[in-house]
């Protein structure tokens, strides 16, 4: 019996240990397509105590891959996104939620699965594996960055208009849509962080508005070298008022305190997605004031 135990233990030890020797980074430098960019949609809320961890993870991934990673913080849900009643002022009085953020949240069922959670290029929607915990982001990012690109996006913009140029890298046929939206960074406001209520938390790349979510082209077949230009006139004051109205009239427990945009800190994010699988195939970001 003793022999049997010894043998069994040795067998376990041999088969059940993966001792890793350095260098620990996989294969030195894994292949990264320098033209591929990845959008991480971080569904969050200022009342969500674990959400700052997800924001920090997004920053850490950005530190590794630089500007090939584009982040978007989408504040959603009544539980985590609502402002506090005025009686609790000044705590948590701002309403970061938007009509589009709430619609995406409902469509992709993110907050229902618990926050923080996010999507990386909206990979996995067909088999419902798209609702990723923050620790699952980096793995999906790494595999996304290996993919070939069919589009290169460039953005020209100012405070009155935005032009998105999508250049085809291959001949392809599919039904694509283009989304153009605005985000804002360096918003200093309240945020729960673990057990703490942080009054001067820096909120970055917060979704402010969606300017367009429409077909990329009337055609669904594209030729290599083709450039599709999409232009939009914008009125920032109207867009800001839209958010205020949404918070006042439609968002659950909203209070209309959704303005105060700072155009100095705003960016345009444009992305193309496959309308069947919802996968974002390319994304680009530019500062609204061309900073």
């Amino acid at each position: 019996m003793k022999k049997y135990i010894t043998l069994l233990s040795i067998l376990f030890t041999i088969t059940a240990c993966d001792k890793i020797e350095g260098p620990y980074i996989s294969g030195g430098e894994p292949y990264v397509n320098p033209y591929k960019k990845v959008l991480i949609e971080d569904f969050t809320g200022h009342l969500c105590p674990n959400c700052p961890d997800a924001a920090r993870e997004l920053d850490a991934i950005h530190d590794i891959y630089g500007d090939q990673i584009i982040g978007m913080a989408i504040h959603v849900s009544k539980s985590f996104g609502r402002p506090y009643p005025a009686s609790q002022a000044p705590n948590f009085q701002y309403d970061f939620r938007t009509n589009w953020g709430d619609e995406w949240d409902e469509f992709y069922e993110i907050s229902a699965a618990g926050l923080p959670r996010g999507m990386v290029n909206r990979i996995g929607v067909p088999d419902e594996s798209h609702k990723l915990g923050k620790d699952e982001w980096v793995g999906t990012v790494a595999s996304e960055l290996q993919k070939e690109v069919n589009f290169i996006i460039s953005i020209k913009c100012n405070t009155n208009s935005i032009t998105v140029s999508s250049t085809l890298e291959n001949d392809i046929a599919n039904n694509f849509k283009l989304v153009v939206c605005l985000t804002e960074s360096d918003i200093v406001n309240w945020q729960k962080d673990g057990q703490d209520n942080i009054d001067e938390y820096e909120h970055n790349h917060v979704l402010r508005t969606v300017i367009s979510d429409a077909s990329l082209s009337s055609s669904s077949s594209f030729e290599k070298g083709e450039v599709i230009e999409s232009s939009f006139d914008i009125n920032l004051a109207e867009l800001e008022q839209y958010n205020i109205d949404y918070s006042t009239n439609e968002a659950e427990l909203g209070n209309g305190n959704a303005g105060g945009w700072n155009i100095e800190n705003m960016s345009v994010i444009a992305y193309i997605y496959d309308n069947t699988t919802k996968e974002i195939v390319q994304v680009e970001e530019a500062h609204l004031m061309n900073k």
């Binding site: 019996m1 135990i5 069994l8 233990s9 376990f12 030890t13 088969t15 059940a16 240990c17 993966d18 001792k19 890793i20 350095g22 260098p23 620990y24 980074i25 996989s26 894994p30 993870e57 850490a60 991934i61 530190d63 590794i64 009544k78 539980s79 009686s87 609790q88 618990g114 915990g133 620790d135 699952e136 982001w137 980096v138 793995g139 990012v141 790494a142 595999s143 673990g194 057990q195 703490d196």
Partner: protein, 553 residues
């Protein structure tokens, strides 16, 4: 679902024979319900919940017949109490099992709990107070091939909320009771044991090389002679990095832990001395979730005394599996009856001291940029996490009056233990006095009064205002065996923030009849930390009614 239906049928059929004289076996069960209402209270920062009330309930059913047993647990979280992980949501039967034993072999399939040694490398358990349940689902075998030799092995996945985490665990444990093995009547008794566990998790992510099979092993020795007992255990875990996207943070260092204790006891006197050191020993059922309590699969026994008195437990110590060095000493002495200090009934003295500090420059870390291992023993110069010096005097004064007095001094590194930014609250030092007196009024009627006082100071300048001093009073009236009533007030009179110098009043009443127990209460809870055995959770402040019902058959 089909399996559950079959199990239910099995249980139901057995239940039919329950109240009759049965050769059909026995069925037992217990039920537990905790309901709480939550209303907004701006003063204490309590939030109302949209549902108005939240409720946790459980029913355990067990059927046994000879060497066969089967059972299940129904759990209901509609929705879970505010101090619970909200991932516990909805209803279900997450625990069901069947087990039998024959000729020294015990077979269990379905859910089971298991602990190897003191739990350093593996502990699957449930603790409702903390909202922890990492029950395994799989197969477990126990076998005793010889007298004094005990083997067990298991394979399974660990529960997290209403699902199972990715890791598959394979475990093996062997124990030799030397005295039983040799049929010896020797005064010295020895048990040696060894355990091994391995987690398989599919490699994900391509940035870092991730081990798919992570193993941990441990050896233990338990020796006793007369009133003396020694227990020691050493555990080792190979590299177990979390797949975090940062070259400087990913950690390939191995982990280790050692725990030792020596105790002595004889009539009227006892002492124990314990120490442990842990380094990088967090072991989770999912490599990506090492910071989440629900995924922890090992347990480092705490080295601080678990206190029941509110103000003694106000600042409890959370065990740091990632790295700590701790020691604890206990002395128990009963002053004899009839002596000057012993009086008519004798006097019990219980002394306890514990001290826990960090490792030298933190726990081990190994990656492409860093390679650090802390020195083995380093106490004085390291960051103090917690210390507790307390003396309890237990005295029966006469047939009607019993008293318990405690004096304690605790040091609590609030910033570190609660994960606050360094300098927010710093280190707190508290002196606590407690008097607990029971008086038997007449047969079946007794009253108990508890008076507690905590004086606290910040040992260094801190950015945020301290909670400061507390007083606490409790009055409890018991009418045996059916009724109890209690009113309690915790008053944070020394809070540096004057708006938070508040009373936290709680009233409770309970009725017990047979195996049924009902209690209702109303009151305010302070936001704080609640620990069981060094494992802690944060409890949000709350204001509302609570109802608790428990029953068994």
């Amino acid at each position: 679902m089909k399996k559950i239906a079959i199990l239910f049928t099995t249980v139901s059929i057995s239940f039919l024979g329950f109240s009759q004289e049965n050769s059909a076996g026995e069925i037992h069960g217990d039920f537990d319900l905790n309901l709480q209402s939550y209303q907004e209270d701006l003063q204490i920062g309590a939030e109302a919940v949209d549902e108005v009330i939240l409720n946790n309930a459980y029913l355990n059913l067990t059927y046994t017949k000879g060497d066969f047993a089967t059972g299940l647990r129904y759990e209901s979280y509609l929705n879970s109490l505010a101090d619970y992980d909200p991932e516990f949501k909805g209803n279900g039967i997450p625990y069901r099992y069947a087990t039998y034993s024959i000729d020294g072999l015990e077979v269990t399939v379905g859910n089971y709990y298991e602990q190897l040694g003191s739990g350093l490398i593996f502990r699957s358990y449930e603790e409702k107070g903390l909202g922890i349940d990492n029950a395994m689902d799989g197969v477990k075998l126990k076998y005793s091939p010889l007298q004094g030799m005990y083997l067990k092995t298991f394979i399974g996945k660990s529960r997290t909320h209403f699902t199972y985490s990715d890791g598959i665990f394979r475990g093996l444990d062997g124990e030799l009771n030397i005295n039983e093995l040799l049929n010896s009547e020797a005064k010295t008794k020895a048990i040696i044991g060894g355990s091994f566990v391995s987690r398989y998790q599919e490699r994900t992510g391509i940035v870092f090389k991730m081990p798919q099979n992570v193993s941990a092993y441990a050896g233990r020795l338990d020796v006793s002679n007369g009133g003396w007992n020694y227990y020691g255990e050493y555990a080792y875990k190979i590299n177990d990095p979390a797949n975090i996207g940062s070259k400087s943070k990913v950690n390939y260092a191995s982990g280790n832990a050692i725990t030792q204790s020596i105790t002595f006891s004889k009539r009227g006197f006892g002492f124990s001395a314990e120490m442990h050191r842990t380094d990088n020993m967090t072991f989770a059922s999912d490599r990506e979730k090492q910071t989440e309590k629900a995924y922890l699969i090992n347990y480092i026994p705490t080295l601080s005394k678990p206190h029941a008195y509110s103000l003694l437990a106000l600042y409890p110590c959370a065990t740091q599996a990632d790295g700590e060095f701790g020691m604890q000493f206990d002395v128990f002495y009963k002053i004899k009856k009839g002596s000057l200090l012993g009086g008519k009934y004798g006097t019990k003295l219980i002394f306890n001291y514990s001290r826990i500090n960090g490792l030298n420059n933190g726990n081990s870390i190994l990656n492409d940029q860093l390679d650090h291992s802390p020195i083995l023993i380093s106490i004085k110069r390291e960051e103090l996490y917690f210390s507790d010096f307390n003396l309890e005097i237990n005295k029966k004064i006469n047939k009607k009056i019993k008293a318990n007095f405690v004096i304690a001094n605790q040091t609590y590194n609030k910033d570190f233990l609660e994960g606050k930014p360094t300098g927010d609250y710093g280190v707190l030092n508290s002196t606590i006095l407690i008097a607990d007196v029971s008086y038997k009024i007449k047969k079946g009627h007794s009253i108990r009064i508890e008076l507690q006082k905590l004086n606290s100071k910040q040992l260094e300048h801190a950015k945020k205002l301290a909670e400061g001093d507390w007083n606490m009073g409790l009055l409890e009236y018991t009418v045996s065996p059916n009724w109890f009533f209690a009113v309690q007030d915790m008053y944070n009179w020394g809070n540096e923030d004057i708006s938070k110098q508040l009373h936290y009043v709680n009233i409770n009443a309970g009725f017990i009849k047979g195996t049924n127990r009902f209690s209702v209460g109303y009151g305010k809870k302070r936001e704080g930390i609640f620990c069981v055995g060094g494992v802690c959770k944060t409890v949000p402040s709350s204001n509302g009614f609570n109802l608790s019902i428990s029953s068994s058959f």
